[in-house]
Subunit: 291 residues, 2 copies
Amino acid sequence: MDALETRELRYFVAVAEELHFGRAAERLGMAQPPLSRAVQQLERRLGVSLLERNRRGVALTDAGTVLLHEGRATLDAATAAARRTRRAGGADNLSGERTRLVLAVKTAAAHELLQKLLDAYAAEPDAAEVEVLQCGMCDQEARLRDGSADVALMHVPFNSLAGFDSEELMTENQFAILPAGHPLAARKTLSLADISNVPDLPPARWPRHGIYAPGPGPEIRDQTQLAQLVALGRTVAIVPDSARAWLWSAHAAVPLTNAPPVVTHIAWPAHSRSPALAGLIRTAVQLASSR
Amino acid sequence: MDALETRELRYFVAVAEELHFGRAAERLGMAQPPLSRAVQQLERRLGVSLLERNRRGVALTDAGTVLLHEGRATLDAATAAARRTRRAGGADNLSGERTRLVLAVKTAAAHELLQKLLDAYAAEPDAAEVEVLQCGMCDQEARLRDGSADVALMHVPFNSLAGFDSEELMTENQFAILPAGHPLAARKTLSLADISNVPDLPPARWPRHGIYAPGPGPEIRDQTQLAQLVALGRTVAIVPDSARAWLWSAHAAVPLTNAPPVVTHIAWPAHSRSPALAGLIRTAVQLASSR
DNA sequence: GCGCTGTGATACCCGGTCGGTATCGTAGGA
DNA sequence: TCCTACGATACCGACCGGGTATCACAGCGC
């Protein structure tokens, strides 16, 4: 009736992403004919056509689009299952070693909060060992989904909490970071409109799922690049309050009046409250409420 | 390296639930030896022991408990993928038939809201066809997870929103439903303490995942049984405001002062906002905000 | 203590199917 | 019109998933 083996899903997702059987087969480390056949079998089994075989390549049908989404989610769940099971059995079962928690954070964000959280949790009587996994812009969500992290500090609206359980920890206002000598740096406050229309400071562009949106601003990959570009007078940055920890002397910070506040949450996969995880969450919430 | 086929997960979950290879094999429609072998292979592949083979049966290790949880989630994701893909391709691709949305509701809950929502949404220009799937006590969550429903009306704190996206629709206070002649029915208000210690009205017991907690109260499976038992003077019910729609003449409703309010949400699987679904959500939110 | 019963593991065999190689059909493009 | 690129088809071998028969062993009753 159903089935849907992960092997088939892996194959279909590869083809749907490459939109090319040959390249997909190469990525999967196999030959093209068996891949074609497997996808055909999948289509027959589901009773649905997933791909439109046009001249010169392949296109997704509506059903194919659905399966690409759902299939990715399923594969993530499967690899998460494997990873978490290995971790649960590997370390702590053999010796009496402590459980390890992997906490995914955005590099350099909410530094002070992270420091306090780690200190406070380490002081708990039966605290697990916490490994800090430093992620790029939006990787924390993927890390939670595929099991490489157990819990994350996320920053709404940059991250999406969809699909996770979470607790709110703190709210910050945002600041514009400008080159120290820039005329706008002298202002007491700025609005988003003030800084979005400055020709000599085009906003930097972060990659979204690996690709950069078009625009005049520089393409960047990490916080340090951004900091340097601002210092060089090439761009303007919008950062939450806590990020001012890493300001350079060549930077000037001006409060933004109408930028959305940044809310930091501690988030974890739904229905995965192990005792160790629950302890970390409790510590974080207490810390937040005692501020 | 990883793999984790859904077949293996199905096998392991069956064994972990039955805690008995023979019965698990029977449930899976196969013989016991290949099942034993498959689970052993899974353990070897993961490098982790999942089951403690004692004399007289089987017990889960810590890692096994983790895999039982994660495996169930993965299998749910896989069947959801199959179901949603079939639905996406089956009906609407062939003819120009409209998309169908399956809305899971708790039978008899929030009746008025549901009625208004269906009416308002049907009046939208390009509304999808909405199929109402009536669920028991807590089934909506499972229905969303395994793909038999696209969206649900959930009632916190009875349902958990963990793992779903949701929008809040309305908040209701709760009432005690008593036999009309009972002394407490004459009270203007009641507290939870007032009705939890009444020997002749032991609270009814709902099944949790198929099993009933021990207690003096009657075991019930649906709203009507509860209504009748209250009318017969055997128990007392606690229901939200909107549930008073189905009160009998032999019932008396008394406001509860300290019962937690019931919050109705519209909820859907994270990251699954199809245009049709988005329309229904929008309608629901507008309806809620215009009250 | 002996055999019985119930449980999971092992041995062995068979057939399906998964993946590889070779080849075809066909649609664009020069 | 040929060539090229791409997916489909044909065929084959090897692996592995599943079945049957049987073993190993722990309780339990006599």
